[in-house]
Assembly symmetry: C2
Homo-oligomer: 145 residues x 2
DNA sequence: TTTGGTGCAAAGCGTTTGCACCCGC
DNA sequence: GCGGGTGCAAACGCTTTGCACCAAA
């Protein structure tokens, strides 16, 4: 996902590219493949745009998710995390429970499931598949402690 | 999962079977295979136990999850849902976004994934796999409206 | 100039916690 | 009687909202 592509999508949706919105998107680009909380985005954008506000962050995250620029990951017992989507490719993630780093998994369970099981009692609309654990770095820190 | 088994697990963990706790578990048994919110459990238990309190519900849900009697499903933009575990069998669910009814999927993506992809950069500890959509009943209601 | 976006403050919601009292074992 | 459990009220953290003003197109 690059800024030109983002601009296209925004324009097509009738949305403006404000400096705040640009700042948020730039944070995602800087931290590519990292999942970020609203708070992290707020802190980072505030550095360059001191009046940045949490409402602005949340409102933009919602919009960016709706137009498929970012992906929202709902966490257990903690703030949701957000991540830049890789344009055009459906995928899932391995997410480190300590540092939030994520790695793309080139595997979708539905590919297998569709062939293995046709469920005629439900209409499938969404799915959730995420792997959680610890990355090598955080694992190393753990064994030190 | 039956009450005798639940009593065993509680006793082994040094936990008491209070009337409130029993009431909560009974709601789960009555609504077997249905996912329930804390609020639904609160309302149902309150019918038979009028002093029932939300703190009691939440504290018990946390305990019951910890000792593997129920399963917590973290939802996007809405309250978490809870469901009685089927003793001893790891599985996932198809969950109706309207009525909360769920159906067990006898499929775990990790079975496939483990053979398809060995990720040596992460230590895998947890995973999330849920299918969402609409059950036939709710789908019928939708097309009427 | 139009319409979407922002900043602020306040409220929303689901959930958790401190504390005194209670009750199962 | 001990130690875990409950009820209450208040706070918590994350997120959303109403409103007046602002700025991109």
């Amino acid at each position: 996902m690059n800024m030109i592509r983002v601009e296209e999508i925004l324009k097509k949706a009738g949305l403006k590219l404000t400096t705040q919105r640009r700042a948020i998107i730039e944070v995602f680009m800087d931290y590519n493949d990292h999942v970020l909380t609203a708070e992290q985005i707020y802190e980072k954008t505030k550095e360059k745009h001191p009046t940045m506000n949490f409402s602005t962050v949340y409102r933009n995250l919602e919009i960016l998710e709706r137009i498929n620029i970012i992906h929202k990951i709902t966490m257990q017992n903690q703030a949701s995390k957000y991540q830049l989507l890789h344009y055009g490719k459906h995928h899932h993630h391995f997410i480190c429970k300590d540092c939030g780093k994520s790695e793309i998994i080139d595997f979708c369970p539905l590919r297998t499931l569709n062939t293995e099981l046709v469920n005629k009692n439900f209409v499938l609309t969404d799915h959730c598949f995420e792997l959680y654990g610890y990355c090598n770095d955080c694992m190393a820190n753990k064994s030190e402690a």
